[in-house]
């Protein structure tokens, strides 16, 4: 018989990184299902390829860095990165888009910076930004949501489009994206609500004119509002399970909402309102799944508030005055850059170091 030596504490909460990541994946389901419903089979194709590429890249990187892939893969972080990137890109973007994005996320953003825990930038968002500025055409080719599309592609069509950019009958992606606009004679190419607003507003239309488009129903545009509500639901699950703290989502949504309200009061004709900002684009996804990535976020509670508040403001500023219709990725990367400074100035006061008054 021999005795076992270990350092205290001898008791551990049995919640490992792998389990945390599993919860993140589970919480993504509602939003993911909404995306699947409104944007078709492409979403699932992107996801599967992204996960496959991510796992392969992670293993090769770990091998190249003399780490055991078996232990490195167990933490599920690569899968989460892949999933976050997969749901961010247009569902029927060609397959090599997601491959390039995933490889960049895993190899360059994560492992070249020292692997899990050492990356300065959010891998999924860095990968997304690289794709967006390198392949703007493919990266903005969103399908119209189900209900607007003249023809929703079948699974086989989606697969063909994903792999070859043509359906089995020879229609191109551009043709598939045409929308039945009802009143208007010519079918127009579909754009996301935010993209549409940006284009219209830049052409001198007022907000109400721009909102004439049939996709603007309900809160913030057909399909997108449900996707956002799905991610909100998943985010609440993460909060309830204490996988994430409330600070980041609350601060992000609050600062974005504050800016949106201020904007719609100051210039109601030219700046989209609260519901558009909160429930369109990737707002909820960013608030609960992107900005909460612990590695690239600020660490202290106060720091998290500042960090997420900064993201909210940046999203609003870029959406309203920048060149891109949605701005989550840029906002998150810019805030990532500020994290060391935020951490430096939000250190909690250690016990006994507080200056007592009187």
């Amino acid at each position: 018989m021999s005795f076992y030596i270990a350092s205290s504490p001898h008791h551990h909460q049995r919640r490992t990184t792998a389990k945390l990541m599993q919860w993140v994946l589970i919480a993504m389901l509602p939003g993911f299902l909404a995306q699947l419903y409104f944007f078709g089979w492409g979403v699932i194709l992107q996801l599967l390829l992204a996960i496959a590429v991510a796992l392969a890249a992670e293993s090769l990187c770990l091998l190249a860095r003399d780490r055991a892939p078996s232990t490195g893969l167990q933490d599920n972080t690569a899968i989460v990165t892949a999933a976050l990137l997969a749901v961010s890109i247009p569902p029927l973007a060609p397959w090599w888009i997601i491959v390039i994005g995933t490889l960049f996320s895993i190899v360059v953003v994560k492992h070249l910076f020292g692997g899990v825990g050492h990356n300065i930038f959010n891998p999924a968002m860095a990968g997304y930004v690289v794709l967006l500025i390198s392949f703007p055409v493919q990266m903005t080719a969103w399908m119209p949501p189900t209900g607007l599309a003249t023809q929703a592609p079948s699974f086989i069509d989606s697969l063909y489009l994903f792999l070859f950019q043509f359906t089995s009958e020879g229609f191109s992606l551009e043709q598939m994206r045409r929308v039945d606009t009802g009143a208007m004679l010519d079918a127009v190419v579909m754009a996301t609500p935010l993209d549409h607003l940006k284009t219209q507003l830049s052409q001198g239309a007022t907000l109400s004119e721009a909102m004439q488009h049939p996709q603007f129903t309900g809160l913030a545009g057909m399909g997108w509002q449900w996707v956002n509500l799905g991610y909100l639901l998943g985010g609440l699950l993460l909060l309830q399970q204490r996988i994430i703290q409330w600070h980041i989502p609350v601060a992000l949504i609050a600062s974005l909402a504050f800016c949106a309200l201020l904007g719609s009061i100051l210039a109601p004709d030219y700046l989209p309102g609260l519901s558009i900002h909160l429930f369109s684009g990737a707002t909820m996804f960013a608030a609960f799944f992107i900005a909460t990535d612990p590695v690239s976020a600020a660490t202290s509670s106060k720091g998290k508030l500042i960090y997420a508040g900064l993201i909210g403001v940046l999203i609003y500023v870029i959406r309203s005055y920048g060149g891109y219709p949605d701005a989550v990725a840029f906002a998150v990367l810019l805030a990532n850059l500020c994290v060391p400074v935020i951490d430096q100035y939000t250190r909690p006061v250690t016990y006994g170091h507080r200056k007592e008054q009187g």
């Binding site: 018989m1 076992y4 205290s8 001898h10 008791h11 490992t16 006994g352």
Partner: protein, 652 residues
């Protein structure tokens, strides 16, 4: 600003904290047991902070229960007592109750089963004694803090001035441990009495007893004790005057129930919970008018003052699923823990862990012979299913869970990076020293990083560096002092030489003038010269003749004593040289003999023990010679080697 606590005053919150499973049952269900005497007790001399005491017993001595074994050392150390009557069978190095598993000097006491007491001296008239006398008594009784670090109680009380509140800590927040819980349930009255003694000693205005809300039975026991106390209060004598009654209301103990949250039992955390104040960094609770003592310490104080019993035993929780009958027991200090475990039905599993203390801050031990000491509150033998051994450490994902859990508001994650990078300056800057090693951060860490272990090692390294730095500073000063001294001595020597040379010159000049003067008295001068010559001649053979003889007579007979003194010196030198020669010859002879008799030496030494010293010297000299020879041989060999080498290179 004075601290004041009332029964209804607000409870505060310390940051962080965790809620690990408590698992106090089943150990807290039954009464405190008393096991039969163990067959052997191991009483280590080093049990608390401070220098070890000086041993005052010897192997073979018969000692009585409560008899001091040591005289306390410097720094107000505490004596160590025999915990039962019996015979001291050995005093040797024995494994210590310490995470390092190192050994220390330990008295092995074989109990005779009689439990015969050493005379006890209770302080019956405590009120008549000064604080100093009572504290001396507590020190002699070996009372130390039984809650944490085992700090001598008398020293803690003596160091505390202007105490507003005395807090008796019955929180016992660590999972599994039920020692204080059981003690409070069964001995609330005694604890209360001990607390009052401590209150009198500290002149504290208020007495607060703090218990976690997961121990309702203990709280009930205290409520009852306090009620009884207010009825029969021994302070009611001075109830006549209003000032006295005011004092009495203050003497009424206040029971505070604090919410269960680990580590609320930590001194600093409990103070924050009760008062909302923080102990200033590098300060003591006394700086904000607070003194804290553990309930078990209060009980020990009561035993010491009212019964004259030294601290000989304490309550130990023996628990964990590898133990068949978990519970609490009175264990004599020095009881080996394997005895306690065996009495509780210990069934070790494969790679069994035995933890001294609780699951959060305890340490694993490898040797079950280690004794119970004053700070041993729990022996935990968990199964692997119960407390899973640590998994492989994974990379930190900066999730910040540790920071949320940290009760000291540190940045555990940052500290971990710094500790791994061995950035000790950075660690100091991030207040590593304020870490209380509670383990909350490592408990919540999803990457299974043994954070506390990193901090401990870093702390030890910083401490070591500080010590080394102090030592090297002293060494530097000593080196510089020595250099200065050598320099000074050299200068002094030169000065002396210079003076001697001057004196010589002066003497020469004097002789010359004398020479002219002697013409007036040629006879005397001639006589002196003859005498001097004679002295010079006798000098070489000065072995037997006293050198003082001629010189002395010369100084008596001649006024030219300067010249004679010189001769005198010469004589002395010659004599010394001769002596040295003789000695060398003697030594050579001895060494020769020694060399010849090398093989027989041990027998010879045995035969003539009184020649030991001489032999040793001779042996030393022989070794010196051998060493010299060896060195020469080596040098030779090296020379040879180098020549062959050069030859070799020439060839190549």
């Amino acid at each position: 600003m004075a601290v004041e606590i009332s029964a209804t005053s607000k409870l505060w919150r310390f940051p962080g904290g965790i809620h690990p499973p408590e698992r106090k049952a089943p150990a807290n269900l039954n009464n405190i047991q008393r096991f039969p005497l163990p067959p052997m007790l191991f009483i280590p001399l080093h049990q608390h902070i401070g220098e070890d005491g000086e041993l005052c017993v010897a192997v073979g001595d018969y000692v009585l229960k409560g008899q001091p074994l040591t005289i306390p050392g410097v720094n107000n150390g505490l004596p160590v007592h025999a915990t039962t009557s019996g015979t001291i069978t050995a005093i040797h190095e024995h494994p210590l109750n310490h995470p390092s598993g190192l050994t220390g000097l330990t008295v092995c006491l074989e109990p005779d089963g009689k439990e015969a007491w050493y005379p006890r001296q209770p302080l019956n008239n405590m009120d008549a004694l000064s604080q100093r006398e009572v504290l001396q008594h507590l020190q002699a009784m070996g009372i130390a803090g039984l809650g944490g670090a085992g700090f001598p109680t008398a020293r803690k009380v003596a160091g505390a001035k202007n105490i507003d509140v005395l807090i008796i800590n019955g929180v016992e927040c660590e999972p599994y441990i039920a020692s204080d819980d059981r003690l409070m349930r069964e001995h609330a009255k005694e604890i209360l009495a001990g607390s009052h003694i401590l209150q009198k000693l500290t002149f504290a205005k208020q007495l607060v007893i703090a218990i976690e809300d997961n121990k309702p039975e203990a709280a009930a026991a205290f409520r009852e004790a306090i009620e009884q106390f207010s009825v029969t209060a021994d302070f009611s004598a001075d109830g006549a005057d209003p000032a006295g009654s005011a004092a009495r209301t203050n003497r009424q103990p206040i029971l505070k129930i604090v919410p269960t949250r680990y580590p609320s039992g930590g001194e600093k955390q409990l103070i924050q919970v009760l008062t909302g104040k923080q102990v200033p960094v590098r300060g003591l609770p006394a700086d904000i008018g607070i003194l804290m003592q553990n309930v078990a310490t209060a009980y020990a104080v009561e035993r010491a003052v009212n019964h004259g019993e030294p601290l000989l035993e304490r309550v130990v929780t023996i628990t964990g699923e590898a133990v068949k009958n978990p519970g609490t027991a009175w264990a004599l200090l020095g009881t080996p823990i394997d005895y306690l475990l065996a009495q509780s039905g210990f069934k070790p599993g494969k790679k069994q862990r035995v933890i001294m203390g609780g699951p959060m801050m305890g340490f694993t031990v490898t040797n079950l012979q280690i004794p119970v000491i004053k700070t041993t509150n729990c022996v935990l033998a968990p199964t692997h299913k119960e407390l899973t051994p640590p998994q492989a450490e994974m990379a930190c994902i900066r999730c910040g869970a540790c920071e949320i859990a940290c009760p000291a508001s540190l940045l555990p994650q940052q500290l971990q990076w710094l500790a791994k990078a061995q950035d000790y300056a950075g660690l100091k800057q991030h207040h590593l020293a304020d870490c209380i090693e509670c383990g909350a951060c490592a408990y919540v860490c999803p990457s299974q990083i043994p954070l506390v272990q990193y901090y401990r090692q870093a702390k030890a390294e910083i401490r070591e560096q500080t010590i080394e730095q102090q030592k090297s500073e002293i060494a530097r000063q000593r080196f510089e002092a020595r250099q200065a001294r050598l320099e000074r001595e050299k200068e002094e020597r030169l000065e002396k030489h210079r003076k001697a040379a001057e004196a010589r010159k002066a003497a020469q000049a004097a002789r010359q003038s004398e020479a002219t003067a002697t013409e007036q008295d040629p006879v005397k001068a001639a006589l002196a010269r003859v005498k001097a010559k004679k002295a010079q001649q006798t000098a070489p053979a000065a072995n037997t003749e006293s050198p003082q003889g001629p010189a002395g007579s010369a100084s008596q007979t001649t006024p030219e004593h300067k010249v004679d003194q010189k001769t005198d010196q010469k004589d002395a030198v010659a004599a010394a040289v001769a002596r040295a020669k003789a000695k060398k010859a003697e030594r050579d002879r001895l060494a020769q003999a020694e060399n010849n008799n090398e093989a027989e030496k041990p027998i010879a030494a045995k035969n003539a023990p009184d020649h030991d010293k001489k032999d040793a010297v001779a042996a030393a000299v022989a070794r010196a010679k051998a060493k010299k020879a060896e060195r020469e041989r080596l040098a030779q060999a090296e020379n040879n080697a180098s020549t062959t080498n050069t030859k070799g290179s020439d060839n190549g």
